[in-house]
Symmetry: C2
Subunit: 408 residues, 2 copies
């Protein structure tokens, strides 16, 4: 039951000139389900990527990073159903073998292929199944496959996540299309989260890197479902230079800011979609921390609230048990914390003022906010000018059910 998250419509997802997507069914987890996506990037495409910060990162992450340092990527290979994580040397060889097969089938070098895997951790990748299915994926490489690809990369996702936008630069129409998957193990620094955003704009590497970094900090790095960071996260931004705009080589230029704003928007929309489809989610929660001494302490308070099982279960129950929010703020570990300056709001309703229960607060007001599907929690720390925002969801029976039964 994703929270206010309609499935994308096939017709709304725009092809990006220079990008083709091929699909196939390797039967990794479910026979017949499409679980393999091959993305072909036209020569000259500039690619930027960020990966999980989990020290135990998966074999495909290690290999993708290596390949990206060696040459410009021409293919992205994504499989769902198996994360190829915690698989040691055998897992590395498996990822390499898959890249090699793509190279053989497309007459390219294997280090131009970036591998991505998502699914269960600790089982060896069924390499032969993938190799057997790959020719099919190569055969059906098409520009208009975004809709199907967004479905093929899903694991515990209920709804596919994809969006397209258009802007004009230099009188040329620029298209940006992105897709993502993920609904559990979601946490700052990314988590079983894969996201691919492509544009036909012409953007220099350093500018593309900056755009991706900034977009991440306002989207995928500010969402959390359960505080767990996956071994496999990756976010890739591709620019094919097929739209014919003047090459964007300065991050401060009007063109760069214009396309950055759209990529921010798409990233945030995809990141929110992941939270809305959070495992077992019934509520979408925005947590705003304001008046902090610095950004870091704002995030610290935000994540303490966002990760509190007691807050999350109260949100699930639509229970304005704001004492749990207050307790979470109190234990967030901020130094020299002057509580008498703290205010806490549930939606527009002030629940704590000057560190004490707000005189104006009534249970009815709190209940009115909690009954909604989208809830904003705002905390004023009274310590400075910094602010930050984190998005999360509630904690329901279904979260436990999904994660207790994932492998069975």
């Amino acid at each position: 039951m994703p929270v206010n998250l309609p499935s994308p419509k096939k017709a709304d997802l725009l092809a990006v000139s220079g990008i083709k997507l091929g699909l196939s069914s390797a039967g990794i987890k479910t026979v017949g389900k499409e679980d393999l996506v091959l993305i072909e990037l036209v020569e000259g495409t500039v690619t930027s990527a960020v990966y999980t910060q989990n020290a135990f990162c998966a074999a495909p992450v290690i290999l993708a990073k290596q390949h990206q340092q060696q040459t410009s990527p021409r293919y992205l290979l994504i499989n769902s159903g198996n994360a190829n994580a915690g698989t040691g040397e055998e897992g590395m060889q498996a990822a390499q073998a898959c890249c090699q097969t793509v190279a053989d089938l497309t007459a390219s070098r294997s280090n131009t292929v970036l591998p991505f895997s998502t699914g269960v951790i600790g089982q060896q990748l069924p390499v032969e199944k993938i190799q057997t299915a790959l020719p099919d994926a190569v055969k059906n490489l098409r520009k208009d496959n975004w809709f199907n690809a967004a479905h093929a990369i899903m694991t515990t996702d209920i709804v596919a996540k994809a969006v397209s936008k258009k802007i004009e630069l230099d009188g040329r129409v620029i298209t940006i299309t992105g897709m993502a998957k993920g609904s559990g193990m979601i946490r700052p620094n990314m988590a079983t989260m894969l996201s691919y955003i492509a544009t036909d704009a012409d953007v220099e590497q350093s500018v593309l890197d900056a755009i991706l970094h900034n977009a991440m900090e306002q989207s995928f790095n500010r969402i959390t479902v359960d505080g767990d960071t996956s071994t496999n996260d990756a976010c890739v931004l591709m620019a094919t230079a097929k739209a014919g705009n003047a090459r964007i080589s300065n991050i401060d230029s009007e063109s760069a800011q214009k396309i950055a704003a759209v990529i921010d928007e798409i990233s945030q929309q995809l990141a929110h979609a992941i939270v809305r489809d959070g495992e077992g989610a019934t509520k979408f929660i925005e947590i705003n921390i304001e008046q902090g001494h610095d950004d870091e302490e704002c995030r610290q308070v935000a994540y303490t609230i966002a990760h509190s099982p007691l807050v999350k279960t109260a949100l699930f129950a639509s229970d304005p048990n704001w004492g749990r929010i207050l307790a979470a703020v109190g234990r967030s570990g901020i130094k020299d914390f002057d509580l008498s300056k703290v205010a806490i709001y549930l939606g527009d309703v002030c629940i704590v003022d000057g560190g004490e229960p707000a005189e104006t607060y009534s249970e009815e007001q709190g209940q009115h906010v909690m009954d909604k599907e989208e809830i904003t929690i705002r905390v004023e720390l009274g310590r400075g000018q910094a602010r930050d925002t984190v998005w999360t969801c509630d904690f329901s029976y279904d979260y436990v059910k999904i994660n207790a039964e994932y492998r069975t």
Copy 2:
């Protein structure tokens, strides 16, 4: 369904000379339930206490700390059903009024009374109900009331937690009896956790403080149910000096070590009881981190595993999804982490060796360990000699149920 936690037997709980406990029903949450405990300490009792580190600590915690600085406690007043937390100035006055009533009824000064509250946060304490019920509690002050008191302080606890032990010092029999409550909001630095341990031994203040501090570090400060730290935690250690042993004034003396060992044991037993009765718990988990560079990083890894909802739901499902443990170790944030030295064990079964899946591992072995009610997870970091242990429980449907329905 507490995990291997039998209810204490009334006959097993020994009176401690110099300590009387009185009970009463104020009807704070449930009419007729005993929810008020008054503990009377004989004159000359030495008392040591530690309190929650939550910045938003509750009114009774603030007041108990103040009173303890002013004079030697003679009474502890504990109510369950309402935490008197997040209640501002009115909450402080409420706590003071309750202490004053105890003082009036016992012809003592109000600052010799330490107040303790546990229950729902953010509602004003029903002072009149407590004041009305207090004469009854004073009237039935008895030495043999530990069993009933352990039940009266319960909130979401299913099983009462209390234990007694005897040792001999200087040819005198020394009795130590302790009780505790708590099953949610449990985390390092304590959490909706109240614990009272009394002995008739004669122990100097500084030695008693040291004994309590050491005991805490091996018990209540090493357990976690959900990572939430309460606003109300307190642990009190009382020594009445009624047993007639030679006053213990040196922490390194044989007598001090002997009584410290028993208090450690009682603290750990009570702390484990809290985890075994963790909200919705079906498994009791010990997490041992070894070969760390220092204690702090051992705790960091232990708590990352212990707080991972994905690990906790896999434990609930008896699913040897050890990849989730590996992912938690990987994201625990240790600096310069050389994964090739890491080994992970589930019970006696090695699952990761030299940073890679153990060749000897089989799913059957893992399943055999996971099917048990008591599971040990051991991680060797290969970085040094430090070690630490944390205890936790799994994460079940019932955790969500209990915390979603707590106020309704």
